[in-house]
Symmetry: C2
Subunit: 224 residues, 2 copies
């Protein structure tokens, strides 16, 4: 087993570690949509909280989202989203009863984490891949065209809707909303992808999103 | 539904599209381990076959692996691996009966596709993120240190083995073998990660790998 964490009572409340502005939004939205009983714990990356020993003890990768369950720690959005969908099957957050449809949903989420997210990161987190300032500028220059190409592919692959997988809202919508919300900051006009844009607007109207944003926007008391 | 493809008879043989030297090895290995009835179709990226209309009609992303099933097309390794494990449950290629253990396996595969693979790609496929030659050189320079950091995290997260998930060989081993096999080409000595190195050596001994490599090494007849 990987990244073993505290085993505890099965009545333990789940904890989601998130950072404002990050892809942890997808996991947070999924927990709300599931009606889960959980505690949201903010991790301030600007203060380096994600690299402090207390957090690295939970996730050695120093990244969010992290979902702590009574069985241990889960990381990586596609895995956390799948787990939430399986833990709350009545919410139909993934097509759990059809291996092919389920794999299509996994493929959708996998593309977001393996291709869209790294492209996005080359604008503000380019230091992962280069230190030279000219190289950072060059990488940032290509972000809009890369994301335009990727979202064109997503747009072309979407069906009649109203959601990513069809009639039923799923964690794919939560994840698509999260990464599509970065487009304007990356100088890409989301309206050139009408289906993506419409799904984004639909998610924006959901009470789950409003509730998560109220948590994210709340001023946190200073750490004692 | 996304990327809808040919619906056909349920007796249709699956097809795996692969390119020699790519991460399609993980999916190919999984099919062999599953004892699946499938046809392997080579896609020569050097000749640009992945960008020809015939292939883009199957996968508009122009990437491998692609698994064509009687229900349609699947892309993205984590999704293809999960599908193969679900289609051949007796082979226990993923812990399908335990949502938490299953999510841990998904998280493992997700880290390989979203973090390890992009780091690796910055050496030979850097043109995805920069065109300036100096930027390409700078990105390639950082590949060994990035992969060393990532594989150190994987190593620290592995348990007693003998496999990634414990007693049972899984698609995680097929995927780890695939990306760990790139280390030497990226100027990283895999022996500094003893558990990863040992799993790699164990996979290397499996008949499934030997069979896949015999297919990959076979000289293909020239296209007519």
């Amino acid at each position: 087993m990987l990244l073993q964490a505290n085993e505890g009572s099965t009545s333990m409340m789940m904890k989601l570690y998130y950072t404002v502005g990050t892809c942890a939004l997808a996991a947070h939205l999924a927990l709300e949509e599931a009606g889960a009983d959980y505690e949201a714990v903010r991790v301030d990356i600007r203060n380096g909280e994600n690299l402090k020993p207390e957090f690295l003890a939970i996730n050695p990768k120093g990244a969010v989202p992290v979902l702590v369950t009574e069985r241990g720690v889960l990381t990586e959005n596609p895995a956390i989203l799948a787990y939430i969908a399986q833990r709350f099957p009545d919410k139909r957050l993934l097509p759990l009863d059809d291996p092919f449809d389920y794999a299509k949903a996994l493929a959708f989420n996998s593309y977001l984490c393996s291709t869209i997210h790294p492209h996005h990161s080359h604008r503000l987190r380019g230091k992962r891949w280069a230190e030279d300032p000219a190289a950072l500028t060059e990488m940032a220059r290509m972000v809009p065209q890369n994301l335009t190409k990727c979202f064109s592919l997503i747009e072309a692959g979407l069906g009649a809707g109203p959601w990513v997988l069809g009639e039923q809202f799923s964690v794919c919508d939560a994840y698509l909303f999260t990464v599509a919300n970065w487009l304007e900051g990356d100088a890409v006009d989301a309206r050139q992808f009408p289906k993506v844009h419409t799904i984004r607007e639909r998610v924006r109207m959901r009470p789950s999103l409003q509730h998560v944003l109220s948590i994210w926007r709340a001023v946190q008391p200073p750490a004692s």
